[in-house]
Symmetry: C2
Subunit: 194 residues, 2 copies
């Protein structure tokens, strides 16, 4: 059990193995891990309870990956974008605010919460198919729950995790979406289910 970075107690549990297909050294975590290298293990593979966010680098930096409950036998099973190849996750934490039924967010056409806006409370595998006019979102206000936005349609490409209890739920520019964000491009998004 590694408790580098205590978080609110919950039913969270994630099991990491240092080899593919759940082989080798095994560690269980019930709270955030800021740097898995300090635990002498470098893979994360079986998610047993609730929702976790995984990160490319230590201290919750770099590409983000939502980890739903289930089995991830190798890195390809959780990685989201091939454009920038990564083979391991270095840090992870529970997503405490995920609340599927109550998730609500407002999308804005431009940064700093200006321009056309759209309040959503559902999943959208293609924002353009549902009436959003282009392939970008300028800014977002998460009113409740947690969301994951994707660069491409069909839940593909870079992932950006947006939570009501981080940044006060306000993401006014792509620079606040995560250290890997390089543009306003978002073409699909969905609620994170607890």
């Amino acid at each position: 059990m590694a408790l580098n970075n205590p978080t609110p107690l919950g039913p969270w549990k994630i099991t990491a193995y240092d080899q593919e297909n759940f082989q080798g050294k095994r560690l269980e975590f019930t709270s955030a891990c800021q740097n898995i290298m300090e635990c002498s293990i470098d893979n994360i593979l079986r998610q047993k309870q609730e929702i976790w966010a995984g990160y490319e680098h230590s201290s919750f930096c770099g590409q983000q990956f939502v980890l739903e409950r289930g089995e991830y036998p190798h890195w390809e099973s959780w990685s989201g974008s091939n454009a920038y190849h990564i083979e391991r996750m270095m840090s992870f934490r529970p997503i405490c605010s995920a609340n599927h039924k109550e998730s609500k967010m407002v999308l804005f056409e431009r940064e700093n919460f200006i321009g056309r806006q759209w309040e959503i409370n559902d999943d959208y595998p293609s924002l353009q198919a549902m009436g959003w006019s282009n392939n970008e979102i300028g800014s977002m206000q998460v009113q409740s729950g947690a969301w994951v936005c994707y660069q491409f349609p069909g839940y593909r490409g870079y992932q950006y995790i947006m939570e009501c209890d981080r940044h006060g739920g306000e993401y006014k520019h792509y620079r606040e979406w995560g250290s890997h964000a390089q543009s306003f491009q978002v073409q699909s998004l969905r609620r994170i289910q607890q």
Copy 2:
């Protein structure tokens, strides 16, 4: 305009380019294309209307990819599994039966529609989180609409497109899910939205 394989008329349209970022030679399709090499183009990149299924090989074989409306500037933006690397799509067709609101499917624990069953009409980023006991589905009956099943949680890994108007909606063994299916493993699934 290539009309190799006429399908029912609909509002379908997909534009393919032979270079990344929507550059180079361009072709528009309004119905299925059985082999894109015959059109002297080998990428598929901008999906303008409704939903298409893309395939790794000609004649709708190999890995499957759901293409929602939006922009796919390079192969990483639509590819679903890195485990078996592919860089192009060879054939594609519209998914005529997609019907988001009316989608209904029954999951069975074992092949040939036996064992525990579960009727669903919603999206499930993690079947295990919603009560399904393991990481496999034995067989499926699509009663209405079209669905996409994924090997891993969070809509990752191999994709299997299931439609009410193919196979009579019956998929009684993984061998009927597609020529790329090698196991019963399914950990997430969702309705295909028209």
